[in-house]
């Protein structure tokens, strides 16, 4: 269906209750010139594998894709290379090296070679330290609009921020896991959670 037909239909339909998927596709084809992910720029293959394994442990494959399947590692590489400040990049890469150092210290292996249970133990330790870092900020000044102070320089906090962002802004994370839609077509103010729209198969 071409755009002109879509607009005609929209103009004819007052009180729209749902937006057919084909309309969405027609809309989207209008703005479909944005680039896709690129090859790793800053992470070595080993670092890339560590990032992928950690991310998958945080957001694993379930009945929907996990972090690896939606290539969260590529997003993290992109942000560390092109978005982070030099200081944050150094901090992130040092944190990543520390993950292997911890795993070596405890299990005489790099993170990617450790068992799932061993990897989980490392994440639990990182999580505890992140919680302590946040605790230390309890009396720190609040941010804009009263925002809670966050341990922005804690590696695991940085890592989780990128993992969650990369996952939930991916197509599968957004449409399958969150069941969100780009063009909802209507607004319901207050409905039971279960009354949301069914999951898309794609």
């Amino acid at each position: 269906m071409d755009r002109r037909k879509v607009l005609k239909l929209l103009l004819a339909s007052s009180g729209l209750t749902a937006m057919p998927a084909e309309w969405v596709a027609a809309f989207r084809s209008v703005h479909a010139d944005l680039g896709s992910a690129s090859a790793p720029r800053i992470l070595t293959p080993r670092q890339d594998a560590t990032v992928g394994a950690m991310a998958e442990l945080i957001l694993p494959q379930t009945d929907t894709p996990g972090a690896k399947a939606v290539r969260v590692n590529e997003f993290i590489d992109h942000i560390v290379a092109d978005w982070y400040s030099d200081q944050d990049r150094v901090r992130f890469l040092a944190g990543l090296a520390d993950v292997d150092a911890r795993t070596q210290g405890l299990f005489k292996k790099d993170f990617v070679d450790a068992s799932a249970e061993q990897q989980s133990e490392i994440l639990r330790a990182l999580g505890e330290e992140m919680a302590q870092a946040r605790e230390a900020l309890a009396t720190a000044p609040r941010g804009y609009r009263g925002a809670d102070p966050e341990p922005d320089d804690n590696f695991y906090f940085m890592f989780r921020q990128l993992t969650l962002t990369g996952y939930f802004t991916s197509e599968a994370g957004f449409t399958q896991q969150l069941r969100e839609e780009i063009i909802p077509g209507r607004f319901d103010g207050c409905i039971p959670f279960e009354a949301r729209t069914p999951s898309k198969s794609s």
Partner: protein, 561 residues
Amino acid sequence: MAATKFDAIVVGSGMTGGWAAKELTEKGLHTLVLEAGRPIVPEKDYVEHVAPWEMPFRGMRDRKKLLQDQPIQSLCYACEETNAQFFVKDTEHPYTTEPGKPFRWIRGRQVGGRSILWGRQSYRWSDLDFTANLREGIAVDWPIRYADLAPWYDYVEDFIGISGEALGLAQLPDGKFLPPMAMNCAELAVKQAMAKHFGGERVLTIGRVAVLTETHRGRAACHYCGPCHRGCITLSYFSSVNATLPAAEKTGRLTLRPFSTVDSLIFDSNTRRISGVRVIDSQTKAALEFQAPLIFLCASTLESARILLNSTSPEFPSGLANSSGELGHNLMDHIKGGGAKGILPGQENRRSFGNRPNIAYVPRFRNVKEKQAGFLRGYGLQGEADQEGWDRGTISPAFGADFKNAISRPGHWQFTFSGYGECLPNHNNFVEIDKNTVDAWGIPSLKIHCAFGENELAIRKDMAIVGAEMLAAAGAISIQPFQDDDPPGFSVHEMGTARMGRDPKTSVLNAWNQAHDIKNLFITDGSCMTSSGCVNPSLTYMALTARACDYAVDQLKRGEL
């Protein structure tokens, strides 16, 4: 190059320029609209349906590029990854301020100007606003009252389409509204609690917003995708690109010239009229000149002041139409940054569906029926309510399948009140030409001197207290009042630099937005404002523009211009 002649020239194609173009062409005038920026083609330029996974930075924006090219513009909430091109490059548009007195000048240079980016909240002024200066002996009296503008509010609202709820409040007159948008669970809860605790003095209503809830004058109802400030292919929110410019185009009398940066206006000392407009072609930098017997300056509050201040002549050594000495002075912007947020326990098993491009609103209640201590005038509060999302999982140490599913469900309802308060007119808040700073086209830029005073700061403090009070009344927990030091300019409601008034000695414009000094010059953007009120100002600018066009064309036909 030889000058080219039209019946009227409109400088600017944004909120008010679009209205001037529509009104003047519909009244039979061949009208040239000069726009400094590029053309906008909705099919090509609008980006509202770009999905997060189609964005290279997934909505986190190209931080390094913004820091380099748009360090000021990118502070605006509406400047996102996909639409930063609707904001100017700060590197091309320098301006200066005094040390310790920051001013954030948020600008959009393209056909449609900032009407593409605006927040769409649309409220009428009342006589509480129009009489405030007179009652308090501040600045000068408005030369008009609500009765003068009411029919023009009707006229403008009928064209643009405003959805909202009639309340019958004297301080916030009702309009003719399209059906209101629904409230979400948290807003409904707070609304009920406020009705119970504040006896009708403080009410929560759904925002009055220039977004269509049903088909209206050939534009489609909203499809609730959310980010209006990226454009709207169904034209469901009002902008000049979506509505007024197409209406002007339809008359066959519109000449829209993008890439036309206005340098200055030419004053003819024999006729004591503007005889032409000096333009620099934004692409070639060629000097051009256009002529018309009627000029509407709609370039925005600060740009219009800049054009006039840059248009000096022996008769007007301190700026065109500035015999009063008030040109560039009395700069105002609504004070914001005060409010409170909290969590509303309950209803976690409910959600809203769709992205409603609107907020809830508490109309002004301070100094309405009786004078309250602490400050003059008042403020309205916007209410934003949503549910905690997946990002709450960042700080959690949990991981794994259960964690993934738990944070994919919405969490607690959270509610934030934040105020927009009236700013008093003050002669000492002003702009002047900074001859040492020129833009990329060689045009001298502005030095802005502006700071909030004690009255504004007292208002901001009250916003935080009142916001917390109302959240407490609604049973919120973890209530966090805040007073952020948002500088002037950040509400993007700047106004007042060529104020209307009754006396040519103390004001730039008369009751019809016509320059006291120059009969064929009308200024109808925010610069005309004599005081700031506390509501979002665009609707009032539009009504003033339509009214001024009606008067100007009548005067033109009578040979009075």
